[in-house]
């Protein structure tokens, strides 16, 4: 009886192990077949209680728009990235419009651009930074009174360009 039970458990364990290995193999195949596939983060949308409208904009509740989602420490001092309005400024806007794959990469990249690029200040209270990361990958960051307003790479394949900027 006990032996049969153990045998049953052993069979179940073997099945689970086989399933797990199959899943790993399938995942590896997907990654090999499509190595540049990258997911888009949803951290800002989730943390700010926003709704992604699917048209590169999001609706952010008014009461959280000025809340700080993250702070990036730069040579110009700590700069907040607020939730923002989901359309023209802030973390949710950056995430949904400019396809941030991972906020770790985004923070690293924003810091790099601000630390290394020359400042271009306007008389409208904003400062622009533009840094060439590599061929076809030019990053723009804009900051203003509210903190980081926007940040984005040029062209397409945005998720990989964020990563390239982060590790460069």
């Amino acid at each position: 009886m006990l032996g049969a039970e153990l045998s049953g458990r052993s069979g179940m364990t073997t099945n689970l192990a086989t399933l797990f290995l199959s899943w790993i193999a399938a995942t590896a195949l997907v990654l090999i077949a499509n190595p540049i596939a990258a997911a888009k983060a949803t951290d800002a949308v989730d943390a700010c209680g926003a709704t992604d409208r699917g048209d590169l904009t999001a609706t952010v509740p008014l009461e959280v728009q000025s809340k700080v989602f993250m702070t990036v420490t730069t040579s110009k001092g700590p700069l907040p990235i607020r939730c923002g309005n989901g359309v023209t400024a802030g973390a949710v806007h950056i995430e949904v419009k400019h396809s941030v794959p991972d906020w770790g990469d985004a923070l690293s990249c924003i810091k790099k651009v601000i630390d290394r690029a020359p400042e271009q200040s306007s008389n409208n209270g904003k400062t622009n930074y533009e840094l060439t990361i590599g061929p076809g990958n030019v990053f723009t960051v804009v900051r203003g009174d509210i903190g980081i307003i926007t940040a984005y790479p040029s062209g397409g394949d945005l998720e990989n360009k964020w990563r390239q900027c982060s590790v460069s």
Binding site: T57, G84, A89, K126, V138
Partner: protein, 94 residues
């Protein structure tokens, strides 16, 4: 050729009108057709000084170039005069 963000559609000082798609227009407080002047012309981050009841209004954010249309200097002046002489109260300041 290296790709740059600065576009050729707008230059600093260019008069423009707010002409976004409806789904964007409904989310911002800027009236469609409102005039402004380009302050900084990055492709996805055009900064605009909008005509206000008195002076100009600096929105906290920046705008996709596709949400703006160029207008003539005469059109800009005419719209600005209409706004300043009319009953519109101006932008709400946060």
């Amino acid at each position: 050729m290296e790709e740059r963000h600065t576009n050729e559609r707008f230059v600093v000082g260019q008069p423009v009108e707010w002409s976004p798609p409806p789904e964007v227009a409904e989310q911002l407080e800027i009236p469609v057709g409102h005039p402004g002047r380009v302050v900084s012309p990055a492709v996805y981050a055009v900064d605009v000084a909008w005509v206000d009841k008195v002076g100009e209004y600096a929105h906290e954010g920046v705008f996709d170039q596709d949400w703006l249309s160029p207008i003539s200097e005469d059109e800009y002046e005419a719209r600005a005069a209409k706004i300043r002489d009319g009953s519109w109260a101006g932008f709400a300041r946060r």
